[in-house]
Amino acid sequence: MKTRNYFLTFGCVITALMIAFILLGYFWTPCDPMKMDGSVRESAPTLAHLMGTDKFGRDILSRVMKGAGATFFVAFGTVLIGTAVGTLVGALTGYFGGWLDEVLMRFNDALTAFPGFLLALVLVSVLGPGRRHLLLALGIVFIPSYARIVRTEFERARSQNYVKSAQLMGASTARILFVHILPNIWPVLLSAITIGFNNAVLAEAAMSYLGIGVSPDEASLGYMLSDSQAYLATTPWYALGAGLVIVLLILGVGLIGEGLQRKDL
């Protein structure tokens, strides 16, 4: 009996809504997210400010929209860098093995040896502040885990018959790697991507929570959360907006990942 895959459905719906929310925020926000207004400081949600205002009277909804976009951008970029480089490294080392495997994977191990967060901190302080640098730093931190996953899969695929047949037919190495093997490990990679995306969202939020790589006046979910801490008792909606967006972003993609796994079973 075929049961409906609710995980996938709900995940897709939530993610689609979030992406629509972010896209909307990219082109239009209800208020100027930077506009300060002393007359409506820390106000509760009203019609004019659906999520209330922060300590400088800035509209929280507008800031959350911008902030969600920024977080999404960093998380997406991070996963992109991590997956692209990680897949390349994993494919080469897993397929060829030998000294290349040794060198690249030991380098990989060296990267993993640092706690990821610390490494990102160091990279940001070396590269300088800015969202692009944060993206790059997180991207580098995310490479090893992808490389490891992909390497294992390629190593396994190397000895399988369809690869051997392709080799006998004289297919080029690049073709074998990316046309024959890659589609076969796709499900594994995809769930790694969904988990990685969630980790990246959290990492970005954590970094900006600590005030690293972001400027306080720029709308950023993590910074908003840390800023709202002092007001938790008096104006809880300050934290609610940013927190809710992070939860929904992660929930949506997480459900998709879960749904994809169940689909295979």
Binding site: M34, K35, M36, G38, R41, K55, F56, G57, P129, G211, S215, P216, D217, Q229, A230, Y231, A233, T234
Partner: protein
Amino acid sequence: MNKTRTLSLLLCLLMLLSLLAGCKGQQPAQPESPSAEPTPAAPATPTTDPGRRETNEITVGISQDLDSSLDPHTMVAAGTKELLFNVFEGLVKPTPDGDLAPAVAEEWTLSDDLTTYTFRLREGVKFHNGSEVTMDDVLYSLTRCRDEGYVAALKDSVIEGEGSTLTITLPSANNEFLANLTCAIIPADYADQATAPVGTGPFKFVSRAVQQSIVLERFDDYWGDKAYLDRVTYIIYENPEALAMALKGGAVDLYAHLSTATVSQLGDDFSILEGTMNLVQAVYLNHTVKPLDDVRVRQALCYALDRQQIFDLTADGKGWPVGSSMYPAFRKYYDESLNDLYPCDTEKAKALLAEAGYPDGFELTITVPSNYSPHVDAGQIAAEQFRAIGVKVTVQPVEWATWVSDVYQGRNFEATVCGFDASTMTARAMLERFTTGHSKNFIGFSDPDYDAAFAEALAAKDDAAQVAAYRKMERILAEKAANVYIQDLVDFVALRRGLTGYRFYPIYVMDMSTVRYE
């Protein structure tokens, strides 16, 4: 199965009961324990108020760690000076009224030509290590300050001592010199000043845990009015939220420099005192980088600033506007008229920018010390106001240590929001730093008129002429838009109910010697 369950439940209950019993047994015993040794001058505490703390000590919250060295002659941070004020004294010490009171010196005279100061040392002043302050210690401290350049005013002076008479002969007349002698008197040739400071103040240093806490204890052999409290523990809360929790939870009894957000969260357990922080908060501009070297650009930034908005957004409208490097507590020197030199005027600001060749604005990074939330907040609002005239501003928070090394000492910045205080109670302490080539002139301000006015102030024969010269310097700073001056912050001090005696000073210090339980 069921039996064991009942048994374990019973055991748990027993444990809980014994715990409770333990608590009960300890409570009444507590107040008696510390009174084994006699405590002279301890405040009489006959109150029977049950909520009161019976131990005669308090915990004070501070927002940053001290300088890595606690040597009083080399300390840099205002936070360090503020705390060590309780440990060290000079020949004279500042009073809450802005005067200088005798400390290690009992009295002094000044020669008619204003160059020779003669002091008589107080007898029986003791260091915290028990030894008496001798002329050797005084000579050592002063010559060290002179030779190492710690006190610029002592440069080229002749310091002589005989018996209990000390004479300091200055190369030129200086009637403000006395204020420099608040520099600490320390024991001669004591090597551990940086880690275990020894002075003559009402409190002695006990211990320090880096990034955590500093403990002071009352010095019972203090020459003057002894402190009331037995022990003061300073705990570092770099994070204002943690601080708010600590205040509400009862872990901190006194905290100066509170934000309005925290004040509004504190209930009836605290009395809130309101004073001024005695510092000049401004967007300090680096005059050695383009385009801030252009006076029109700086003036444009001044016109773009709306102080009232900063007051409204950060402190419920409270704040003391400043228009130059002088704060209102210096009544004699503070020139109120400078506050209105640059009324907020966006159009004028834009016109000035265009005139300077930046009609489309320019990029500016404002660095802010991330642990000082008033500066971070003011930086954000100023940034937004500068954006209104087309300047593309980025606000960049940095750690305090990074701020000191990169911005202040390294001078590697474009603009920064911070506050400067006066190290001694003179106008000179505020204004000398901006003279050409001065070691503390981190903004690289250089103006011949300013330097001339400073020379004039130094050479002034009477007080009126000197005040006039200092006011002239303030005016030059304001007219040249040396910095975008914002305010002297309102200082909220939270004092736990039952505590009293906190006094505000016109300089950035926190005097614990008068704080006591009612």
